[in-house]
């Protein structure tokens, strides 16, 4: 069968599909681990039942989610070698190290302590049990950091030299790979966005139950935790995003020019709100812009010049030889906008929620509610939001719980596709990175298998989540409230059932 495709096209699609799928679960895992850890800590410290109920409820959703995160991650560990063997040979000396660090330091940590946490309710004293989920949380963050260091090296290679004798890139400064500004800013941005994701998820589900006046005590607590996290994380996501933008303007001018559909150098450069253009001819036919804002985003002043796509393309042609160095511009342009739009809508919703559900401050006594009632949404000190608008807010909070997931995906699509045609920016082209020995048929097979399998598992997973979300927190039993005080459980009662079994 003759396929009119570049050899890397299928491999790129496959990597894109599997990675986007993996990254639906990752940010929820990172943030829910920490939020569940926070809730369990609150239980250990205060012994209030609502915290334990919340821990168990969110913990269950967390486990349904992390199961998929783990298995989709396995594929990634092998995919470099399978589909991108020339890439692996070229950069293995550098890229392999953070990957191995990730496995040895972070994966072992998460996987071992998650087992202890799941099965350890009746085998560990509660403080140690709580420590286990913190360990999981640390593991998830460490693993994100190492893999982002590896990715950042592809975006902005540092600490290496090209060895002409072996024909590959070789590591010269590992500390630089781990601490270069790209790594730090990307990690900051990814982690804050992860917390935005988990917080919006928590707010949405709490809103769902509160709207129905169910499980009020637990959901009030969860809502509060979610809203505060959402606002802090949203603010930090915006700040880190701005930082990341500045770093990218410096390191990958093409990506940012594409993100703005800025074809030619402008001084001052405007920020594009909407654009429609002709990629072949290299200009926009429709453009709605905010003057000077792009200059500000790039260099913190409103007048400095920003080079356009055509300028950078010419400069790169001079530097790297003839070729087209432009990424897919509509994808970069719209990816950038969807990312900001979806992410910031969730942030705005959180900000509104935090104001509407505020407690004693500036709130008339008549509007204050106890632990057993759902919070009333108060617009001003004495004025409650109408029932219709209140219902709107709760519903909106619920239906937008997945917005940050969309923002995350577009953010990564923008980052990764904005780097094309490079696999390692300025060093290795994507077309030189694929496995020469793997046939198109093999790639089609694996792509079809993974896509189908992932689609089926997505349906299974979402249905399970819905089931457990709808059911809400479970009532506690005596053994939940009185965990053992000895490691390994209570030896006196040999036939006591386990607190949890698969």
């Amino acid at each position: 069968m003759e396929l009119a495709l570049a050899p890397e096209t299928l491999a790129r699609w496959q990597f894109g599909i599997t990675t986007v799928y993996h990254f639906l679960f990752v940010p929820l895992t990172i943030s829910l681990a920490a939020l569940v850890a926070g809730l369990e800590t609150a239980w250990v410290r205060t012994a209030k039942q609502k915290y334990l109920k919340a821990t168990k409820f969110w913990g269950k959703l967390f486990l349904i989610n992390i199961a998929m995160g783990v298995v989709t991650g396995i594929v990634q560990e092998f995919q470099f070698g399978m589909n991108w063997s020339d890439y692996s040979r070229f950069v293995g000396d550098i890229f392999g190290a953070p990957l191995a660090f990730e496995a040895l330091i972070a994966f072992f940590f998460e996987s071992t302590f998650i087992g202890l946490w799941i099965f350890g309710w009746d085998k560990l004293p509660k403080k140690i049990h709580c420590l286990c989920i913190w360990m999981v949380s640390i593991g998830t963050i460490l693993s994100a950091y190492f893999i982002l260091a590896a990715n950042s090296w592809m975006q902005h290679p540092v600490g290496y030299r090209y060895n002409a004798h072996t024909g590959r890139a070789e590591l010269t400064d590992f500390l630089k790979v781990l601490t270069q500004d790209t790594t730090l800013v990307v990690a900051f941005h990814t982690l804050t966005a992860a917390f935005l994701t988990g917080a919006a998820f928590m707010v949405g589900i709490s809103a769902y139950h509160l709207m129905r006046k169910k499980h009020i005590k637990v959901m009030r607590t969860s809502l509060r935790l979610g809203l505060v996290t959402l606002v802090i994380a949203g603010l930090l996501t915006a700040i880190s995003g701005d930082e990341l933008g500045k770093v990218m303007f410096k390191q990958q001018p093409m990506k940012m020019a594409a993100a703005e559909a800025l074809w030619d150098k402008e001084e001052p450069a405007p920020f594009s709100v909407f654009a429609y253009g002709d990629v072949e001819k290299g200009h926009n036919t429709v453009a709605i812009e905010v003057p000077g804002l792009l200059s500000f985003l790039a260099h913190s002043d409103f007048s400095s010049p920003v080079p356009g796509i055509n300028d950078v393309n010419k400069a790169e042609q001079q530097k790297f030889g003839p070729g087209d160095y432009r990424p897919n511009i509509p994808v970069a342009y719209w990816g950038f906008r969807w990312m900001i739009g979806f992410g910031m809508s969730s942030f705005a919703l959180g900000l509104a929620g935090l104001w509407l559900t505020r407690k004693k401050f500036w709130l008339a006594p008549g509007l204050r509610t106890g632990d057993e009632e759902p919070p009333r949404l108060a617009l001003t000190k004495n004025k409650e939001l109408g029932p219709r608008l209140s219902k709107w807010y709760w519903s909106l909070a619920f239906v937008t719980l997945g917005f940050p997931l969309i923002a995350n995906s577009w953010g990564w699509v923008f980052t990764e596709m904005g780097r094309q045609p490079w696999a390692v920016y300025g060093v290795l082209r994507t077309s030189d990175a694929v496995s020469p020995g793997v046939s198109q048929g093999e790639v089609i097979t694996s792509m079809a298998v993974f896509t189908a399998l992932y689609a089926i598992l997505a349906v299974v997973e979402v249905r399970l989540l819905v089931k457990y979300v709808k059911a809400g927190p479970q009532e506690l039993t005596d053994s939940d409230l009185n965990p053992p005080t000895r490691i390994g459980g209570d030896p006196a009662d040999a036939d006591r059932p386990m607190a949890f079994s698969y």
Partner: protein, 349 residues
């Protein structure tokens, strides 16, 4: 000893850890069909590895990550060469992980039965495929001057490699049966022990032929020692099992696996993937390795992290040291379920 030699040993160690630990995981998965009489016995078996299977599986990810970092060419050639078998292994590992976590999340019998079937097949297939893969690595495959694998899928299914696949399958299942007898209580424990005898004898026939073939083909003095250790440990495991010394039986079946893996790596060294097309095209510890600087950093990382990992994983096994039987199974807290779960209020949906 140079750094790339040390890394060859470390990667061998990571694979040994993987096969030792995941060996009984796979074995337990296979035994859910062979040994368990009913649903609750299946659950008992699955729960013997419940808290630890995930951590066991990370040994594989570490082995792969370490290979990428220390021997990029080995990583690239191996995984792009063994493309379709690896794809099948990955599919199994995906389904298997989800199966463990999701099986008890719904009360419907068909749901649980489907995941149980999945656990059986996704444990059995990788147990065979890893043996086939290692058989091929040791025996050598068609690698050209550019370090690329140029054979087909069918080249991987040669008799020697298939015998390797049967070796890992039977050894893992035996290891799993011994583990089951060590971790369970009641009727199933006795049956696990009896089944271990049968499986152990079967494993002895298959494994000894495979190891002897390996020795005749590629062996030297040191590999003969490793082979002897493997065979003696296998006999010792059978004897210990026969006399009901379950801890000893498990230790010996573990040593059998470790020694067999060690033997494979000993016959491999200093190659990491020999070429059958031309001797000078083989990937070796020198021509496939990373730079000394990378290896040095990795050595520091592994030297510090690996002992700590073994400590806390060991601690996990100690925390969950209690044997379990059908009476220990917890009620599944499945929303909307009836029966054992009636004390949980069913929320209106």
């Amino acid at each position: 000893m140079q750094l790339h030699d040390i890394w060859f040993v470390l990667i061998a160690f990571l694979w040994t850890g993987y096969f030792f630990l995941e060996g009984f995981d796979f074995g337990i998965g296979v035994l859910t069909k062979l040994l368990a009489r009913d649903r609750s016995e299946k659950r008992v078996l699955i729960n013997t590895i419940g808290p630890v299977w995930d951590g066991n599986e990370v040994w594989l990810l570490s082995a792969a990550g370490a290979t990428f970092a220390a021997f990029p060419d080995w990583y690239a050639t191996l995984f792009s060469g063994f493309y379709l078998p690896l794809l099948l292994i990955l599919v199994c590992l995906i389904v298997r992980g989800v199966a463990f976590e999701y099986r008890a999340k719904r009360a419907e019998e068909s749901w649980q039965r489907n995941w149980e079937t999945a656990i059986f097949w996704t444990s059995l297939l990788p147990a065979v495929l890893w043996g086939i893969a290692f058989g091929n690595i040791v025996h050598g495959v068609k690698i050209d001057a550019h370090k690329e694998y140029v054979g087909g899928v069918l080249d991987l299914l040669n008799p020697y490699a298939i015998l390797g696949g049967l070796t890992t399958l039977t050894l893992f299942t035996f290891h799993g049966a011994v583990f089951a007898s060590l971790k369970t209580v009641g009727d199933i424990r006795e049956r696990a022990r009896r089944m271990a005898t049968v499986l152990g004898l079967l494993a002895a026939v298959v494994a000894v032929s495979f190891l002897a073939w390996t020795q005749a083909d590629k062996g030297d003095g040191t590999s003969l020692i490793a082979m002897t250790v493997a065979v003696v440990a296998l006999v010792a495991a059978l004897v210990a099992n026969r006399f009901g010394r379950e801890g000893w039986a498990f230790a010996f079946s573990g040593i059998t696996i470790a020694a067999a893996v060690a033997m494979l790596f000993l016959t491999l060294f200093p190659n990491v993937m020999p070429s059958t097309l031309h001797e000078s095209w083989s990937l070796t510890v020198t021509n496939a390795s990373s730079s000394p600087y990378t290896l040095k950093i990795m050595t520091w990382c592994a030297g510090i992290a690996a002992p700590i990992v073994m400590l806390y994983q060991g601690w996990t096994y100690w925390v969950f040291r209690k044997r379990i039987g059908t009476q220990h199974l917890a009620d599944a807290h499945v929303p909307g379920a009836t029966g054992a779960d009636t004390h949980t209020p069913t929320p209106a949906s």
